[in-house]
Amino acid sequence: MKTIETQVAIIGGGVTGAGTLRDLALRGIPAVLVEKGDLASGTSGRNHGLLHSGSRYAVGDPESARECIAESRVLKVIARHTVEDTGGLFVTLPGDDPGYADRLIRAGRDTGIEIEEIPVSKALRMEPHLNPAITRALLAPDATIDPFRLTMANVLSAVEHGQQALTHVEATSLIREGDRVAGILCRDRKTGERFAIRSRMVVNAAGIWGRRVCQMANLDLAMHPSKGSMLIIDYRVNRVVINRSRPASDGDIIVPGDTVSLLGTTSRTVDYDAIDDLRVDDDEIDVLLKDAENLIPRISRTRALRAYAGVRPLLAASEGKDGREISRGLVLIDHETRDGLAGLVTMAGGKLTTYRLMAEKLADYVAERLGVNRPCETRQAPLPGSEKPVPIRRTSKKFTGVSESVVGSTHYRHGERVHQVLGGEKANFALVCECEMVTAGEVRYAIKTLGARDLIDLRRRTRLGMGPCQGGLCAYRAAGLMEELGAVDADTALTMLAEFLEERYKGVRPVLWGDGMREMEFIYWLYEGLFGLGAGDGSQTETQAPERDVP
């Protein structure tokens, strides 16, 4: 069996694993990361993308709030090309307890978060579509962050420092030598290949799946999966993050993210076994839409693009106390001290916003065990693309023969790396996805530099297929291009296309009405009627064409 030798093996390519891979890289500690799906395909790709200022926790969980405000300030600099400093509003609706706003202002003062009350008229000017009936408005330093690009940028930085990140590779078991862990056994889910990674430390950054990793070592870790569903709206109906000024509950936040707005969220306990097959329930959609409409009335007239759910990786802080002692904070579990098993460390809990801090704690722990005493650098070192702030207009002027909207969108996604993405041949300018302005150059970059292995990977790296047609009009072009670039062979390209459509359908199904339904019918006609995908010729794609179920 092939064996990779390294110092550290990291299980999990979410933002925590990616951040740890990079932190170790900057300290000169070689590491290899394995991710069973794609980077950010777990919880890291299934959240609101809110860069918490901490305001949402300030009243109930000041500890987390302090972490958030400190980390968000760091990320606004080191990850600036993945962050939009939108600001956030906390609004009180008629019927809400107006006292909550006062508590929030006080809590902000205690935790060091600048939360100030502004006149309602000013809030309405900032956010013209906001419900004009609001009675109070607070302004907080919330921002938005793109979790996909954040994760990719961390991995890219690490890889450029010599680390390895293997996607679609699952850790199947731990290699044990007596009472220490000495590496992992893996399987490539695309090729079926099995191999070993031998290392002095194994980092369990598998998020909610971390319990399963612990089980590989016969250890238990009590986790309480809590599902949250979210809904994506066709375009940006709001410019700033809008929170409802009340204790956290369902449907109380609308986050502008790239070209869309995101409605969040619900909170439902699910069985641990359900975490691999999350479904958005119809009544969740109703709740999300109704509550969001209270904040922004026009939501009801806007097309919903897709719905998805994530699971909060919450940990029972002290076991046995029936779930109520659940911590949202980050928890590092030193299995050597806790279970007498050396070489394994688990990180659990936390947030996207605090990923860097989690990575720092993990890397501190690992470095100490390995006897390396280089300090953490990620607090200052900018991520690739975020080196310095460059205005979009200036970038647009550097390219001729391509629309400003194309250059601007690419710049937005890749920061200063836009020159690698679009530079060189003019053929790079050809548009593949017209909803989100993804070019052939960007597809090439995503494959060659960001390690995309299929269409769904491509979507996470570029936003290809995330717009109103949800990939209907670009997936086949991208599949062709991937084949041309040698990323896949022709047969795989077809299977990949079918998988992409299936994945698309899963996301779209909960919101099939109105224009979304018309779109679905059109795409169905296009693929099945025009391209014959799923035509009864016994090809493998037949049963997979998801549009068959359209009611």
Partner: protein, 405 residues
């Protein structure tokens, strides 16, 4: 209710039919087409106004994309609005001149002899080309020595002798360049027992919109809505216009891109042939003189957008002796002031090339079209004489000398 914002892009299916029908996208790779410039890019502009494309300038606002769209996306409106909302305004003397048709018309008619001669003179055209960026090849429409308004005031027939009355919105072209067409309208309506009133109208606003003078266009819109509504109340009849573009503006641009409440007139405006078609069906006898001509009929884009082509065709078919040939629908390319701009002129001519061929293939005696700017372009492209459908009707109604036959 008046819609304050055009969010019709949200209904776009991405079917791309609009781009297939866009004459400009077909003529030049510099324009990415209505889908990308309209509904696609609108989402990006909402996200960040800096993402506005310079290539929006290539859209001629012909509205063929809107006619083709199965989702009722108001694509051309989205593009026009984006231009003037997100672009940093740069005023050019040329665009000011082209936009202000009434101002130009006032001086043009006052100094018609001089202006017409100057506009025809090589040196002047050369200078205009270099300094003002109006292409020297493009002929200027000639100004009339007197306006339609003045003629109507002095010689207009008394409307009250007729059982019915209509308010006639004549538009700048009739007023300053072709008062004869206005007289044709008056005569045809009179033959059908409809008396004509006019108002102290201002330019409908289309050239202002095309050149970014939206505030002024709004002012004109308010003035026209008020004046026309009052006159229509008094007349107890409809408002008609023989300019397809003016009609489109009064009906759709006012509540659309200009966001003006036009409900006081919306239901009462009719493009002239729509008003005439049923009346001519009742009274075919008024078309007494045959007009034995083979004519090629070009349907203007804006008339097609309103669904008005059928009416004009029906009216033409009623003219005795006339042999109307319907051309396959194409854009002529000029799109109002678009073809008068040096940087867009080659595109306008490329767009018009197909139409030219189709017209020449018919070998007509005359070309007929409802739109004045289409008429200029077709005369320029083919060298043939172009007339308005109402002029043909007038020949048949009046008979004898007025006809060129």
């Amino acid at each position: 209710m008046i819609e304050l914002e055009n969010i019709s892009f949200d209904h776009c299916l991405k079917c791309t039919v609009c781009t297939v029908y866009c004459p400009v996208a077909k003529a030049t790779p510099l324009f990415p087409g209505p889908k990308q410039s309209g509904p696609d890019a609108e989402r990006l502009r909402i996200k960040n106004p800096e993402l506005v494309d310079d290539s929006l300038k290539y859209c001629s606002n012909c509205k063929r994309c809107e006619t083709a769209c199965p989702s009722d996306v108001r694509i051309a409106d989205i593009i026009q609005a984006a231009k003037w909302t997100y672009w940093r305004r740069r005023t050019r003397p040329r665009d000011f001149l082209l936009a202000h048709t009434d101002l130009m018309g006032f001086w043009g008619t006052a100094l018609a002899g001089l202006v017409n001669r100057a506009a025809g003179a090589g040196v002047v055209r050369y200078l205009l080309d270099i300094f003002v960026k109006i292409p020297k090849e493009r002929p200027f429409p000639k100004y009339s020595t007197s306006t339609f308004k003045r003629w109507f005031r002095d010689h207009g027939p008394d409307p009250s002798v007729h059982p019915d009355q209509a308010v006639y919105f004549h538009g700048c072209y009739v007023n300053y360049q072709n008062p004869g067409l206005g007289r044709d309208v008056v005569d045809v309506l009179a033959a059908l027992g409809v008396g004509v009133r006019i108002t102290n109208e201002k330019c409908c606003g289309v050239p202002l919109i095309a050149n970014g003078y939206l505030d002024r266009a709004r002012k004109h819109a308010r003035h026209n809505i008020e004046g026309l509504a009052r006159a229509a109340d008094q007349a107890g009849g409809p408002i008609v216009t023989a300019s397809s573009t003016c009609a489109y503006a009064l009906m759709y641009e006012y509540p659309g891109i200009l966001r003006q409440d036009n409900r006081a007139i919306a239901d009462r405006i009719q493009y002239l042939t729509r008003f005439l078609a049923p009346r001519l069906a009742d009274r075919p006898d008024v078309l007494k003189t045959p007009v034995p001509l083979k004519v090629a009929y070009h349907a203007p884009c804006h008339l097609a957008r309103m669904g008005g082509v059928v009416d004009t065709v029906e009216v033409l078919r009623r003219i005795p002796g006339l042999d109307p040939r319907l051309l396959h629908s194409e854009c002529c390319g000029i799109s109002g002031t678009y073809g008068f701009k040096k940087e867009l002129y080659p595109i306008a001519q490329d767009v018009g090339a197909d139409l030219k061929e189709k017209i020449l293939a018919v070998k007509p005696d005359l070309v007929v079209t409802d739109c004045e700017t289409c008429a200029w372009q077709i005369e320029f492209l083919t060298g043939l004489r172009v007339v308005h459908p109402v002029t043909l009707l007038a020949w048949s109604v009046r008979g004898g000398a007025s006809s060129p036959v």
